[in-house]
Symmetry: D2
Subunit: 283 residues, 4 copies
């Protein structure tokens, strides 16, 4: 039969694990817990071709074993940041299995914020979700990408869009006052060692949000670029950042048929179609 296997990759996705951390041992219900939850994808490349081409499973680390591994590593690791746990995961697979040539771990955190300053009560956040991606190739160093997802932000003025390309397919008028709303996501890389991934993320997210607000936006594009610059300024270790800013449209409702003025007051909210803008800013 014809057909060569030119690439392959496999692993386990959506391994969801939570952990109670007990920083200081204390009598039972006086312990002050920390509570973390990650969803982990792990993928392997290496000398697995025979499984595909010859039905020979001997090199295959079952995806079920990959899952077991995540739980065991979650026991042995402090789960302090998704980045550090991602590094532990890829180093485990590369260290233990010589025939694996590349391992990638992707992590998404469900952030549990402390509730009412309780020692053991938490409420989950669903915005500004931290993400990490760690890749390790045989002979190399772990490459860490950090990120944040699902940051739904808006400015209700100080945004316009004028003088864009005009031709016979354009119907959108110029406007010097509109709502700019976006579901921001970002990923970034670091130049060297990072002492504290959580502190870096916090500084970066704060810089992104602050810059989003601090200027009159002439386009999503301009604001994206300024936000990328702000992030680079806020984190000296950052090498480059990619921002994705889909336009979450709030369209001025047409109230003219109903004898109402609508001076940027009432808007129709739509999910699709949506404008998609992405850009990368580097040192």
């Amino acid at each position: 039969m014809s057909g060569r296997l030119t690439a392959n990759r496999y692993g386990k996705h959506q391994v969801r694990v939570s952990k109670i951390r007990r920083p200081r041992r204390a009598p039972a219900n006086q312990e002050r817990h920390e509570f973390v939850e990650y969803a982990v994808d792990v993928e392997l490349e290496g000398a697995f071709d025979v499984a595909f081409t010859a039905g020979d499973n001997r090199p295959v680390i079952a995806t079920d074993t990959c899952k077991n591994t995540i739980y065991v590593l979650a026991k042995d690791h402090p789960l302090d940041t998704p980045e550090s746990f991602g590094v532990a995961i890829v180093e485990h697979f590369m260290g233990r299995y010589e025939h694996v040539s590349r391992c990638v771990a992707r992590l998404t955190e469900t952030v549990w914020d402390r509730l009412n300053d309780s020692p053991h009560g938490f409420v989950a956040r669903d915005r500004a979700t931290p993400t990490a991606r760690v890749e390790l190739a045989r002979g190399g160093q772990p490459v860490v990408n950090s990120g944040v997802e699902k940051v739904l932000i808006a400015k209700t003025t100080e945004s316009g869009f004028v003088d864009f390309h005009r031709d016979d397919l354009r119907t959108l008028p110029d406007t010097d006052d509109r709502i700019l709303a976006t579901q921001l996501s970002a990923t970034w890389t670091y130049a060297g060692e990072v002492a504290d991934f959580a502190a870096a993320r916090e500084a970066i997210v704060n810089a992104l949000l602050g810059r989003f607000l601090d200027h009159y936006s002439r386009s999503v594009q301009e604001t994206l670029y300024l936000m990328g610059q702000a992030a680079l300024e806020a984190c000296a270790d950052m090498q480059e950042i990619t921002l994705t800013m889909p336009n979450k449209h709030h369209l001025l409702a047409n109230l003219a048929p109903f004898q109402r003025e609508n001076a940027n007051e009432v808007f129709v909210v739509t999910d699709e179609p949506f404008g998609y803008i992405t850009g990368t800013v580097a040192r």
Copy 2:
């Protein structure tokens, strides 16, 4: 042809509207905006049978007109709470169309929290979503139900489950220490006029969260009941509250095969199947 029409109802769903409120007029970019967003469902009952049985559309207020109406009402109304806007919607339809016998509005708020104390910058919250349902029947008064959805909370100790029914289909062991996590939702009714729906909701949610934490939970059932009582205590106007507390399971990972102890430390997080518990607590 056989078959009588015994019930019918129609309307428009997922009418999503946002509004910029400008409490005090001020020079352009010094205005301090408020920003609100609702998704509205409206449904009508009444003398619409001929549309079904005779193809006679004359009584039918098009669902497109229902949509227009929401936008126009959003212009005329302050959109201060989903409850008050819901009342305005049902009163509009009942007041304008004599052949409508019943109108129901359901509203879900996307809460836009102020960002960095900016006068026009906002970040959307995706937890603890306010909801309202208002129903008005011909000759009656609007009946308001308030609610809250998507409150994902956990306590990492102070929860157990023992001595439940034992038979040959039970395999779950007793435990006096477990994670209790739930995605709380609640709806409640009021005994009379309510001065401030937003203040009532805040008091109720705070009471629910506080009670969730303040005791050793012997079951989701017990905690649900205590939370319902706390809500009744916190809001004198409330008549009854229905709580739904699906169990968001964090199951102790079995690390025994890997020679690791797991003293309530590492958990497998699953979405399904899930325990479902609901109850109503009334004065």
Copy 3:
């Protein structure tokens, strides 16, 4: 503390089970399998108040036990239809636990169609999903509701909407030719014993689809009513049927600004807002 428990209910949701049926025993890989998959919700009412009010779990059949039960019953039952399995579930819970006063089972089938006439190959269908709901109260008989969900159908002509209510909030023009598209769902009840739920469902769905096509539709309302009548005619055992037909809008694209005619040719497809129409037709 104030607050009486006035209602409660609990159970397990999303218990997903599949089963290989081997109608005739045959040498290993010559068996002709059937493959079925259900997602089951089960809910119980009864003498459970003490769990809520006194933390007394002795009457509580753990939701984990409910889950075990579904798997065990799936072993003992042929899983020939969701209705018959639903009956078996509610009869099990009512028969075994005297303190349960009411049991409800809801089932959704993932239909696995045979693939290429293979004895053991299947492809899942994601449209026209069968559903069932069975309720049994102490002292009564099981009440079976059958249904079907996710039937996305359209007619590209033979549909119009004219002469509907006209006022200052109406902007939609009359049209005598439009696309009518809907995601049909239906539930129905039976007058007496039903010999073959699967045959009944097939006859009903065929009648619904046939009637959807066979006339010029003057409104979704009219078509819904005609479809309900057709279903009653097709299944003598049916007592009443409730149809829900949300409008999946295909809106004529406005190509006038681009010097193109659009004689019902190109449409903008939107998911929201959407018209919602429901009605019940009974003998």
Copy 4:
């Protein structure tokens, strides 16, 4: 301020368009319609940097204009296949705008199958969704990727998994009889001109499904490879194919605690975590 813009891209996503094709003109309701629906993403690269770095929007073709363009092109094009429409889209943007250096269109089809041989009645399919991706860089030729998504298939026997890597983290036992279920997706490229994309896709999908069934599967990996080979054999124009076959686990229910044998009969169906396997097969 620091920070160089090193990459950018933008466009409109989820532009959903449907079209009625009337192959032969005929008196009104005797026309035999065809009905197609695509969701289109279009993205542009080019000389847009000044929009990011200088707030200069003059080169920016508004995403709203991109949306208009899709509707206009849908009028002018037969919409016979997602591939051919994708080619028309990228050629339009590259032909009209000299400052665009690269255009990518991604299309997903909602297949409307004819219902009851009606000339204008259709039912939407939600499995085996056709996809296409077309990319055109300045100076090059359109590069077409075809694909198919959401093909949920299972074999209830003729599948095993034995002799895979054994270590202290493995707990999964060998099995020579299991359910193999997967949600197949595939994308492929062509070596040259393709006369009929729809015929090619049909041949490829049939080959994939046929091969899925025709052998005893020693692993997902082996079956994936054999399926890729079958696709190459079935379509002479195909250059390479990438298959993704996530494992949709049906896990043998443990009925031992309930004194029931479970000889591959009853299974627990889970969505996560799930095994992920992907591979590329080329000539």
